[in-house]
Symmetry: D2
Subunit: 304 residues, 4 copies
């Protein structure tokens, strides 16, 4: 039914229409939804078969979405309780995380573009241990079990001249982590997702989804080790918003199709390279990156 390209990184959005109607009964898909606290909603979609993947338009794997309207608001302890819930969800997709691992966390995106800085900012607050453990052992932390955590901000292709995947592959070859976690700012289709939805998936990042093309595939297939991706929608493509409004209209006014198409194309052209963000995007990025970094710190603390 969709005549134009949907620009979204959110599995929840991409599969929304399908999900509502059929996914529940679709073979090879399990859906679980529940509230973990007031106003914090978790949905967990597991796509188990190739057929289901095809129907859903998403690779097989687990997609966890946490929705919390409060995330948009400033909070004295940076939403500690949400960080803890995210940590729990994150652990559920980290393979064999009860045993000591070497884990590389990668902050994707452009540090100098506010709406794209979520990944780099998150990485800035991580608790990094690999170099200390390798030099002084776990005893430096008085710990009996401990992951080796390292972190990388590869930068974007326009500034490095290299694919993000090339840089990550090289670093993995030499430092040999067991797992990669990648953090990225996402594009959503609807402003109602902005800055309040966190997506965790064990399928990594696939080329062609979302607005940015600052990356190509970051998956177990391409990198050789499990890739967990964490993202928060920070922008909506401006064209998408107008198109969506028009789409809804066209469902009611069949006679006006042609004219609606005209406006749609117009919006697409005029709004190219424009995006919609919250007015307080600078502060929001700072806050959300802190909530995420705490979630990762908690999830990777073996004694927590």
């Amino acid at each position: 039914m969709q005549q134009f390209q949907i620009r979204t990184d959110l599995a929840l959005e991409a599969t929304e229409s399908v999900k509502k109607k059929e996914a529940g009964q679709l073979r090879g898909v399990s859906i679980e939804e529940y509230d973990v606290m007031e106003d914090v909603h978790i949905s967990k979609v597991v796509i188990m078969s190739k057929n289901a993947a095809k129907s859903m338009g998403k690779p097989t794997g687990t997609y966890i979405t946490l929705e919390a309207p409060d995330l948009q608001e400033s909070d004295e302890d940076y939403h500690r309780e949400i960080s803890e819930e995210l940590a729990k969800q994150l652990r559920s997709v980290l393979p064999d995380i009860g045993n000591e691992k070497s884990i590389l966390v990668v902050g994707l995106g452009n540090r100098d573009v506010t709406a794209d800085a979520l990944g780099p900012s998150t990485v800035d607050n991580l608790f990094i241990t690999r170099h200390i453990i390798r030099e002084y052992g776990k005893q430096a932390y008085h710990a009996s079990k401990m992951h080796q955590i390292s972190a990388l901000v590869p930068g974007v292709m326009a500034k490095t001249g290299m694919e993000t995947a090339e840089i990550i592959k090289g670093v993995i070859k030499v430092t040999e982590p067991d797992i990669v976690i990648v953090i990225d700012a996402l594009a959503a289709r609807s402003v109602k997702r902005l800055n309040r939805t966190v997506q965790i998936t064990d399928t990594g990042i696939h080329p062609g989804s979302g607005v940015g093309n600052h990356r190509n595939a970051l998956t177990k297939e391409s990198l050789g080790i499990p890739v967990i991706a964490i993202g928060i929608p920070m922008v909506v493509d401006a064209g998408t918003i107008v198109c969506d409004a028009l789409e809804k209209l066209s469902q009611e006014y069949d006679e006006g199709k042609a004219s609606l198409d005209y406006f749609r194309n117009n919006a697409d052209t005029q709004l190219h390279n424009m995006y919609v963000t919250a007015k307080n995007i600078d502060e929001t990025t700072k806050r959300l990156s802190f909530t995420l970094s705490e979630a990762i710190n908690i999830a990777l603390d073996m004694e927590a």
Copy 2:
């Protein structure tokens, strides 16, 4: 004709429909338009009578608009030629600028919000002379004639607890400049104005126009000395974009009015506190503020 609030700071946009049809013949309004170089267009609207002011919905005074699509693009010498044209236009509205003046330049807006940082960033690159001239005289610069330039970044009310106008009034009382120049990021109604249109006016800044309310009136009446305002549209209100698309539609589908109103209200609610910016807003702000500061430096250089 307009059924909903237009959010724009641009005189050019606010008067566009009127201007096109009638302004030319309106008594008390003069309009002049010309190209100064390839792809740089100047329009100068002078509103001379109270009646004309009422018809145009703008205070009496001079409104100069420079439009240059190139401003959006990065350029090795930061669009020096546009800075020079802006300097010329700016001089044309600065009163008695052939004689030495004390001039206070004020950078409005929030330094920490990329899309609102144009004013503060512009002020950062100005050539400041007041303290040197007062301490050592013009001879410190080997100059025979020289303006005393001072600059202020008052900050926004949410961070200062004070109206911008209060801070500026106080500073004027004590430092007694002859003229104030205020720089501000504007909101436009159409994305086609973003980052490529500069507006210079001798009417100062009036409350209620534009998106932000980080200021109230900054005018000759309120401050006691001439106020020149310079602005560049950096954002479009997200709701405005959808509303504008719908407005155009409703001109064609009279039967659909009610439904269009529904979508319009919806857009307004959902898109509240959202805005549309160019994807490279961070870099754009840096570049445009440099072009502006050079324009002011040239305009205020008595030996240039």
Copy 3:
């Protein structure tokens, strides 16, 4: 005894030699010292008479110094317990603070120079209430008693062309606060004070003290209302360090005076415009400004 200019903003340092030997018995000076918790030391010097002021080389008033080696270290809750002790000390010098006041907090220094950014950064995290109370009343905060807090970052003279005192005077004239609190990065004489000593005084800021000359007098005499100054030493003048080492030497080697003077002058010339800072000054400024802003927020919370 001192043959060369001491560059220090710290009362504790300026009066150290005097204090140790005589201040205890000096008429018109009271000295109190105590530990408030492990490794947090308070000293409170009150200079009560003009004679005492002359002997001590400092204006009459109260000087409170908090020394806490831990302040140099990063801490999960940003040294909350030290913020609370500072709040208590700050209240002790704020006049009539049990009743509702209008209080202007001024962040001195240059936001773009890391070692001088303490004041601006502190102001960024303050809880600002004046505009809300004036618009909506205290009920907006569900409070029965509440101070009106406003804040200003005036910038430095090289960038504004105006004396800091001119800007502050102007703002006071128009907004009429009851009390001014000024925050500033200080210069110390000894590296052992850096980033671990907080000075609170009710004497304001006097010209000529410290390294910077980004200000002239900010006192009750010059501004017309009480001025409380809070500062933390962030730099040591590089020349001072060498001079101090040489001074100590010269006390042992009388015969070497001339040669020592030669080296001293040399150090002064070569090290002009150089200063000594901690290697992690960028991170330290961020942390300390947060500890200070919390101290002020607590001290000015009437229901705390």
Copy 4:
């Protein structure tokens, strides 16, 4: 003769005493010095034999130093003429640079620590071409000969948990450049070198030299391809300054040796983790990084 560790990254300084006295006559060392314009001095030391390397305490290779007091000053075109001279010198050590190469430029150091940000800031202004040439060919630039330029900011070990060398090795493995250029902020021994001396060498970077240990060896041996290192001294270790003053003294006062040693140790302890920088280090880093990036851009432009 030196009883304490000299902390310097500058070949010029390390070899100064040797150079002056003997290097000229030392077999296996050639020294060339000349002025290229007013107040721009070039010195070129080539260490050709293992014996000479041992005598000089530096690996065999070419060391070019450009000294220009003007570099410390702000300049309208960011010292374009010095960028051009640096480009010329840089070309002289880049192997086979007349033919098309793939060149990786690495900005060492910590972006968040002003005095250590020279490398990352330089890389921010480079003209990056690799991704464009690989996707669209040289014709995208209308050029017949062109290098493929890529750039990397690996970050510091405390924030990545990885040795800088590990990250660079990995990226080289996957992207296979022909040459690496590394940029780094250096430590000097004397403040008179700060911010005005540029060192270019084809020996790469060797562990243990200089203050920072944010890297280990980056040399042709360790990375497998030629490594050109460019550096500018941005800091002097604070202890070094006092020690140097004392050292000079001790040459005159033999009887005072013991006491001088006492002060020296004291300075070392107290000044640990302190450094001396120019007061305007924030602005200086910005300017010098621009001069360097232009130098590299010019040197790598095959049609310049």
